[in-house]
Amino acid sequence: MADLSLRNVKKIYDNTVVAVQSFNLEIADKEFIVLVGPSGCGKSTTLRMVAGLEDITEGEIYIGGRKVNTVPPKDRDIAMVFQNYALYPHMTVYDNIAYGLKLRKFPKRVIDQKVREAAEILDISELLKRKPKALSGGQRQRVAIGRAIVREPQVFLMDEPLSNLDAKLRNQMRSEILKLRQKVNTTFIYVTHDQTEAMTLGDRIVIMKEGFVQQVGTPQEVFHHPANLFVAGFIGTPQMNIFDAQLVREGDRYFVELAGLRVEMSAEKTARLLAWDVASQPVKLGLRPEHLTLTDRDDAVFAAVDVSEMMGSAVHIHVSACGQDVVIVVPLSEEEETENMPMGQPVRFTFRGSAAHVFDVETGYNLEYPQKSEPEETAPPAVTVPENVPPADQTAEEVPAPEELPAPAEEAPVPAEQPEAPAPAEPAVIGDPFAEE
């Protein structure tokens, strides 16, 4: 059990490829942190730097208050579970789990006791005499976890541990990991590209893209208050709908206008926008599919049904509206029959002001949380900006606020040169990390 501190950590491969940029994170003791992002975002590299398997180009890593930059992996008191399990194929399950303890010269009796305890926790007691190749994927993963927990490390690192499992087993193992967490009660850093895993497992989630941290926050925070368009698109299934809309300020009130529909922002959101003195402007409006509601109101947004998918507890209706594809999730109650929506059927939808997320067209930042330190500040207090942050479109006063508003995106998530382009263009760049759902 230990707290962790990553300060301005940077990784450059071969003096050219920047894998991780100014990574700052304080991880509390016994916290479960999930690093999530698309392939090549630097999440695994970050984890490997914590493990000591990669050198740190710049910055410092502290484990339990001790700087570990040059400490070899075996002396960092960490354990790691690999994506491909990394079990020693020539050893039995017992020997695999016991190997680390043997190297640390534990007495045989203690080793035996610890191995059996771990096997009990993971329900693999009857497999101890088998070789890894005689195990299923799920069993192998349990052994790999067993090998890690038996050492009682200060920090537990997991590098996409469930990626090689099929969807059903993955769900099962996910809950097993949650249970395990209660039992071993230590600090976890978990890497995944699956946002569902991130949302369900993490106390806090670190969302990364191309080496930069996009947002750090609890699952609720990143879901309800995405820092930028990338996070908005990455977190949540189905993906958030992004529209080109207009933010209108009338005195102390804010409205969003979308295809003739005018919705007032909620008091909470209005307060935040007021705090930053946000003016009327064109915006990217983010609306989660589950926050769109079908309505008969005349002023609602018109749409035509493309296809409707029956998901059991809800219907996902894909519609065309405002020149783009939009998804609307309509929850079904128990008695309700599946709504039959033929292609081309006209519908109208609306949304509540509390569900609207407004993003800057140029930078993609959430206008409720722009990249400033304090709303009152007018002077440019750029002191806390790390020198090595590439400030593509950052001004001197743009200081990353701690936690929620982290490192700036190195590029405007929305291509500024084509503001009329259909909004889904940006999320499409992200790929479809939710495919399995």
Partner: protein, 295 residues
């Protein structure tokens, strides 16, 4: 169509059986002939050996070479002569053993350590060195004989067993085979061992070596057979006849002892054969895996 396919398969099998028998023929001949009486052997091969010896005035026992597989009378006379009556053959056999066994063992040690270095060490120098090794591997033994002679002379080990053992210890082929084998070990396994607390030596000993078992076995068998059958190296580097292995001695057996040659050759085959039979699976696995891509 189906008939044609069956016929093709049958023809192929027939061809394979033919070649298998063809290659087996000398071995079978050697073994069965080792149980023939001296007079029967002389009757079968007399002319050949008489000609070889160049003694023109000798009376030929037979005009033609007669390849005979089944002896008229089975006798263990040759074996008794080789194993009991004349200890020089056994001495030569022993010479072979004390030359080849250290070569195999030392080569395994040196090659595995070198291969581990080549596996774990990254960089341009490594690539160059490895390329150099491959070039060396392609050179036939005969090419390296002269440099080996010069170096042995310089070291003052010429005409001692070390003149054979020392060059035999360092073999690029074994390093190549083992490096390929070690590179197939997933990096994550080595990383897991590191996190478990292994030192570099422990990673080598506990993780890498056990997984290269088939490659090690293949190397042991191939090197054993290679050096067990060596002729040129002892002739040049170890002229002392008392120290020369049986492989060299076999070629010096003269006409009057043709029958003994069959017995000695049969005995000589036994260690290689046993080693091969014991490690056949490893040998196939060890060689087949080289160059294959593991998913």
């Amino acid at each position: 169509m189906k008939k044609n396919r069956y016929f093709g398969r049958f023809a192929l099998t027939l061809l394979a059986v033919f070649f298998a028998l063809w290659f087996l023929l000398p071995t079978v001949l050697t073994i069965t002939n080792s149980f023939m009486t001296q007079s029967e052997i002389s009757a079968n091969y007399g002319k050949v050996f008489a000609n070889v010896s160049g003694s023109d005035g000798k009376a030929y026992i037979a005009d033609e070479v007669n390849l005979k597989f089944i002896p008229d009378k089975v006798t263990f006379h040759q074996y008794i002569a080789v194993l009991i009556r004349s200890p020089e053959y056994l001495l030569k056999f022993w010479n072979s053993v004390i030359l080849v066994v250290p070569i195999v063992l030392l080569q395994l040690v040196v090659a595995s350590v070198t291969a581990y270095g080549f596996t774990r060490w990254r960089g341009k120098v490594r690539s160059f060195l490895f390329f150099f090794y491959v070039i060396l591997m392609l050179m036939p033994t005969q090419v390296t004989l002269v440099p080996n002679y010069l170096v042995s002379d310089w070291l003052g080990i010429l005409n001692t067993r070390w003149a054979i053992i020392l060059p035999g210890t360092f073999a690029p082929f074994s390093v190549f085979l083992l490096t390929k084998s070690m590179r197939r070990i997933p990096v994550s396994l080595i990383e897991a061992a590191k996190l478990d607390g292994s030192s570099e030596w422990q990673i080598f000993k506990d993780i890498c070596l056990p997984q290269c078992r088939s490659a090690l076995y293949s190397i042991a068998i191939l090197v054993f057979i290679d050096y067990w059958n060596m002729v040129e190296q002892p002739i040049i580097l170890l002229p002392n006849a008392d120290l020369q292995p049986l492989s060299v001695y076999l070629s010096t057996i003269n006409t009057s002892e043709v029958g003994l040659a069959f017995a000695i050759a049969t005995i000589y085959m036994v260690p290689s054969l046993l080693l091969f039979l014991h490690g056949e699976d490893y040998l196939v696995e060890g060689i087949a895996h080289q160059g294959s891509v593991k998913g």
